[in-house]
């Protein structure tokens, strides 16, 4: 295999898919860092975000790219509502209860999408996009947008967490929740902030998944395992870990096709998850212990 086919057929698709996982994994890692539970409705929240974007394109006649920021905000706000309705009153109980509750929320979200938009596959745009060809590297315009927007979102999040007062408060609460409270930080506000960010990133991951493949009601559920694998591989609670983890899982999945049938791609995420939990449970960037 020459270098061009390796890049075109394995590396680039892996990086694109990996950035989609990374956007979801950042949310999972943030939710765990602040609230200390695994959020299993994350995949279906991504589906929800993707279909909200679709709704903006069909009802308002917007282009998919114009619908994205609206869907990001709408899903972020919706994530706060989910938290207030389903998770807030479970806060003081053992965290496993919230984790199980999030499975219930996942089912509700998926059913809602199925009732409103049906179970058939659909897409944002019709027709086939021809890839651009740059010195033998073939990349489609929506793949370039996926990468650029993912990078922009990650940079924006990094700046927010390191420069902004409330971003620092989020890191402080992840680091030492009691001391954050003793410093006067209002935990409820930090939790809402976490949800709007995690929900927004989730919508972006669902949108790009739909843009690069197609929209269907189980799309988010299908990427839940690789997204969790990415978060755990990177080290739970570590944003840089979620990004690296997402890219590694995405690339590993594409490369796995060399040795196993394509339908079993998702097994590679499962394999990574198993290996990390066995040999380095804190992940590459030494995250919090699960």
């Amino acid at each position: 295999m020459d270098i061009h086919s390796f890049v075109n057929f394995f590396l680039l698709p892996g990086i694109v898919q990996g950035s989609i996982y990374a956007l979801g994994a950042i949310g999972i890692t943030l939710v765990f860092a602040i609230m200390r539970y695994g959020h299993f409705a994350h995949g279906d929240l991504a589906t929800f975000g993707a279909f909200i974007a679709l709704a903006f394109t069909t009802t308002l006649g917007l282009s998919p790219y114009a619908a994205l920021p609206l869907a990001v905000v709408a899903t972020g706000v919706f994530a706060i509502v989910i938290d207030r309705v389903f998770y807030a009153h479970l806060r003081a109980l053992p965290k496993i209860i919230t984790t199980i509750a999030s499975f219930g929320v996942a089912l509700m979200l998926r059913s809602f999408v199925q009732v409103v938009w049906g179970v058939n596959t659909t897409s944002y745009t019709r027709g086939i996009t021809r890839p651009e060809n740059w010195f033998g590297i073939r990349i489609k315009s929506h793949e370039i947008v996926t990468l650029l927007v993912a990078i922009a979102l990650v940079v924006a999040l990094h700046l927010f967490l390191t420069r902004n007062k409330w971003g620092k408060a989020m890191r402080a609460m992840s680091d030492n929740p009691e001391l954050a409270l003793f410093s006067g930080v209002d935990n409820a506000k930090v939790i809402s902030l976490t949800w709007i960010i995690a929900g927004g990133l989730c919508a972006a991951s669902g949108f790009f998944l739909g843009l690069n493949t197609e929209l269907k009601s189980v799309m988010g559920w299908n990427i839940l395992l690789p997204t969790f694998a990415a978060a755990i591989l990177g080290g739970v609670g570590r944003i840089e870990g979620a990004i690296v983890g997402g890219l590694l899982v995405g690339i590993a999945e594409e490369l796995s096709v060399l040795v196993i049938p394509g339908e079993y791609k998702v097994m590679s995420a499962f394999g990574i998850l198993l290996l990390v939990l066995l040999f380095r449970p804190t992940g590459l960037f030494r995250g919090k212990v699960l």
Binding site: K165, K168, A169, R171, A172, S174, D175, N176, E178, L179, A180, L181, F182, S183, G184, V185, D186
Partner: protein, 235 residues
């Protein structure tokens, strides 16, 4: 001297169990008060009850004329009381500077004066301002912890075993800094395991046993009392 922090006949505990019984204390501006006593006497618990971390069943706590009994910690901070826990008292994954910024979280506007003051009190930390706080030595971590609490210019500073596990050199340094803070008009209440050293440096002391007041008075008198020394200070 009129008291700034007043605890009157406090009865408090966790869940169903009472730990403190009829406890009374006072701390005035510009004095250091040490709480000493045997293990399990309720020293740290008494301090936590001031900061709203216990269920209060009776009695009252006030700062100045404001009754703060039953308030939540983030509200008590706004009333001018800052608390430095014994353990987990820094943001270990954040830099020294960010720890101080978090200390100033409730401040509106410019807080560079408070920051300058903290770096003046802890000159060693100025060079380490970009260092991750968790990677510092035990003594320096304690300084970060105190610095964070001082960023709000508190009226009352609560220190839970500030010298636990520190070398004599750092212990002396922490005591000296506490005196400087006291002299700037802050009321300091501290819990100490090293009872003799604490009473040697504090202005007044309370000796606690089984969640009750046993003795109180000027630190030097408590230290000189043979009976107290035998019973509570390890001979």
């Amino acid at each position: 001297m009129t008291a700034l922090l007043t605890m009157k006949n406090l009865r408090a505990g966790y869940g169903d169990a009472d730990i403190l019984f009829d406890l009374s204390m006072e701390v005035a501006r510009g004095e250091i008060v040490a709480i000493v006593g045997p293990n399990g006497a309720g020293k740290s618990t008494a301090m936590k009850s001031i900061f709203g971390l216990l269920d209060i069943r009776g009695g009252s706590i006030a700062i100045g004329d404001t009754d703060i009994t039953g308030w939540a910690p983030n509200r008590i901070v706004k009333a001018g009381i800052c608390y430095v826990p014994q353990v987990k008292n820094i943001f270990s994954e954040m830099t020294v500077h960010e720890n101080f910024e978090m200390g100033a979280f409730l401040r509106k506007g410019d807080y560079s004066a408070a920051l300058d003051r903290v770096y003046r009190l802890f000159p060693d930390l100025k060079a380490k301002r970009k260092t991750t706080a968790g990677s510092l030595s035990g003594g320096q971590r304690q300084m970060v912890a105190m610095g964070r609490a001082l960023m709000l210019d508190p009226q009352v500073l609560l220190l839970d075993e500030p010298t636990a596990g520190l070398s004599p050199k750092y212990m002396e340094q922490i005591f000296q800094i506490s005196r400087d803070v006291r002299d700037s008009g802050v009321a300091i209440l501290l819990v100490e395991q090293h009872a003799k050293q604490a009473l040697a440096f504090a202005d007044r002391g309370y000796v606690l046993a089984a969640g009750r007041n046993r003795h109180e008075g000027p630190a030097a008198e408590l230290l000189a009392d043979r009976h107290i020394a035998e019973m509570f200070l390890g001979g």
